[in-house]
């Protein structure tokens, strides 16, 4: 392998790695606030890509049906718990947040189906459409068991992922999609052609990494959000609402998932089940960051991208084996640096 090939592989790796950065940041964000390892995160990114593709071809995206079904289910559950607590005054609020708000983007899409909207609008609409899904899933699936152990939450998240893949097939069909690239501009760094698309992805990764790092490390709101994961009771006693914190985390995380979906859609062919593998490799990056540090997560995810690129060059069949085997030494390393201040209580 000469230096030119190595450089191209590295560039390729950085481009893929940057996508992994966005997804990994989302994993860390959601875990840092809710203690949920949100396995379906990759699926949400894939769904965004599929949504964008549908809008591009003037079709009604399957997402509309998915959002409607989830909104209905969440509203029902919320109404049941309101009725049980006898707090009838909260009913209008519940209907607004769980039914009306999520359905607005869906309604817009439904009304404009059949017309080709300009690209920025398509992108915005895709993101808006996808945004409610994770918070609604949180309400339906995770909130009833919010104080369960991380392991139970992980098991539920894995089961949820399988459900989403099934729903993905139902709502989007089995075909793969590829969207138009956001920009066709290319420039040369040294002798290597670098597409503006790649630069966009890397820039997005860098910006989000920085913002999240600053938010969680230095602002009161960020620390309050993180506190709900560290000690739910303690947070409540400070007046911090864990449910609200969870919703914010899932919304912010969804933005990351959606953006990565938009950015990856022109580059790879995305199927209804592509999310898992992408999410899993990004997850290796999140583990490198110990599920807690945003800068290290970003670095780790880039590393995974580059590793995959070189591994694929050596042996494309075994590149998955290599990437997942790397996870084990990383976990080992991380478990030594992970501070276990108190032994975990008997489950």
């Amino acid at each position: 392998m000469d230096s030119e090939i190595a450089a191209i592989l590295a560039m390729d790796g950085i481009a893929t790695g940057a996508i992994y950065v966005l997804i990994a940041l989302g994993f860390v964000l959601i875990f840092a606030v809710t203690r949920v390892i949100f396995v379906p995160f990759g699926d949400i990114a894939a769904f965004t890509a599929l949504t964008l593709a549908a809008l591009e071809t003037k079709q009604l995206p399957g997402t509309v049906g998915l959002v409607a079904a989830l909104a209905g289910l969440a509203t029902l559950m919320e109404l049941v718990s309101i009725l049980r607590a006898g707090a009838f005054g909260s009913i209008p609020r519940a209907i607004f947040f769980y039914l009306l708000l999520p359905l607005i983007p869906a309604a817009v899409v439904w009304l404009t189906a059949g017309t080709l909207l300009p690209m920025p609008l398509r992108i915005l609409l895709s993101i808006a459409l996808i945004l409610p899904i994770a918070p609604l899933l949180d309400r339906v699936v995770f909130r009833p068991i919010a104080d369960a152990s991380v392991l139970l939450l992980l098991t539920v998240a894995v089961a949820l992922h399988f459900a989403l893949v099934g729903l993905g097939l139902l709502f989007f069909g089995p075909e793969g999609v590829r969207t138009q690239s956001l920009t066709d501009y290319t420039l040369n760094i040294g002798d290597i052609p670098v597409s503006a698309q790649t630069l966009l992805i890397v820039a997005a990764a860098a910006v989000f990494s920085l913002l999240l790092y600053l938010f969680f490390g230095f602002t009161l709101s960020g620390k309050a959000l993180h506190a709900t994961a560290l000690n739910r009771t303690g947070a409540r006693l400070m007046g911090i609402r864990p449910n609200y914190a969870g919703t914010v985390a899932y919304l912010l995380g969804s933005v990351l998932a959606a953006v990565s979906g938009i950015l990856i859609a022109p580059v790879n062919t995305i199927f209804y089940d592509s999310g898992f593998l992408i999410g899993l490799k990004a997850f290796v990056g999140a583990i490198i960051g110990g599920l807690v540090s945003f800068p290290v997560t970003a670095a780790g995810s880039l590393f995974v991208g580059i590793l995959e690129s070189f591994a694929a060059f050596q042996s494309s069949a075994f590149k998955e084996v290599i990437v997942f085997s790397v996870l084990i030494p990383v976990l080992l390393w991380r478990s030594y640096t992970f501070a276990y201040s108190e032994e975990h209580p008997d489950e």
Binding site: K223, A227, T233, I240, S341
Partner: protein, 240 residues
């Protein structure tokens, strides 16, 4: 007028009645204490007063029925609890723990910074350890941090669950001095304690709780000389 009135409250865990028809009151600006042995239901009482566990009966705050409000809403009204298990944020620094204590006052940045300085003044040990993670503090230092964190919220009504648990005699005296001094700031206090002597020496009014019920109550200085209590609870516990 009572700032807190607990009216005929019962708490059940499955078939077990941890708290049975308990009524008590905390006068505005006063210090009330509930003493009694381990397992009497004192912690359950405080947990339901702040809204973390359900109960039958009413909780009245300044005369208003808050029984249906969430814990977070009660905290925003100035009603705080330092729980038995402290519930600190172990992976965050001492400083951040204190900062989050003032969450309900968010926005008042300068005032919050002053409050932190005040807490450090009261507890110099915490100032030394300001950058350390709360989980690395010793048992007694964690108690101090929990109390300091509660003070950050500038509460109107503060409930303390066993503030002297695990504390050395000298610090126990200091903690109760601090509790007494809070009265000057206009804070009303409800202290649950096993250390009956220290609690009754500080409080105005006392309740004795055994197996879920209030079996005895009265002004603190009357209780402290009551012969029945002296044998069971006041047996010369601490040196101070």
């Amino acid at each position: 007028m009572a700032v807190l009135a607990i009216d005929n409250v019962s708490v059940c865990y499955g078939k077990v009645e941890a708290v049975r028809n308990v009524s008590l009151a905390v006068e505005k600006g006063g210090i009330a204490t509930v003493i009694g042995p381990n397992g009497a239901g004192k912690t359950s009482l405080l947990m339901t007063a702040i809204g973390l566990i359900p109960s039958t009966g009413r909780i009245l705050y300044d005369g208003e029925d808050i029984s249906r409000l969430d814990t977070e809403e009660r905290v925003e009204m100035g009603f705080c609890l330092v729980p038995e298990k402290r519930e600190l944020f172990a992976e965050m620094s001492v400083y951040d723990n204190l900062l989050l204590g003032a969450y309900s006052r968010r926005g008042q940045t300068a005032a919050i910074r002053r409050s932190i300085d005040e807490v450090f003044h009261r507890f110099p040990r915490l100032k030394e350890r300001r950058a350390q993670n709360a989980g690395t503090l010793s048992g007694g230092e964690r108690q101090m941090l929990a109390l300091g964190r509660a003070l950050m919220a500038k509460p109107r009504l503060l409930m303390l669950d066993e503030p002297s648990l695990g504390l050395a005699p000298l610090i126990t005296r200091d903690i109760f001095h601090i509790i007494a001094s809070l009265r000057e700031l206009g804070v009303s206090i409800l202290v649950v304690e096993q250390n009956a002597r220290a609690a009754l020496e500080t409080a105005d009014f006392g309740y004795v709780m055994e197996t879920g019920e209030i079996v005895h109550s009265g002004p603190a200085d009357a209780l402290i000389t009551d012969p029945r209590l002296i044998t069971t609870y006041l047996g010369g516990n601490e040196a101070a």
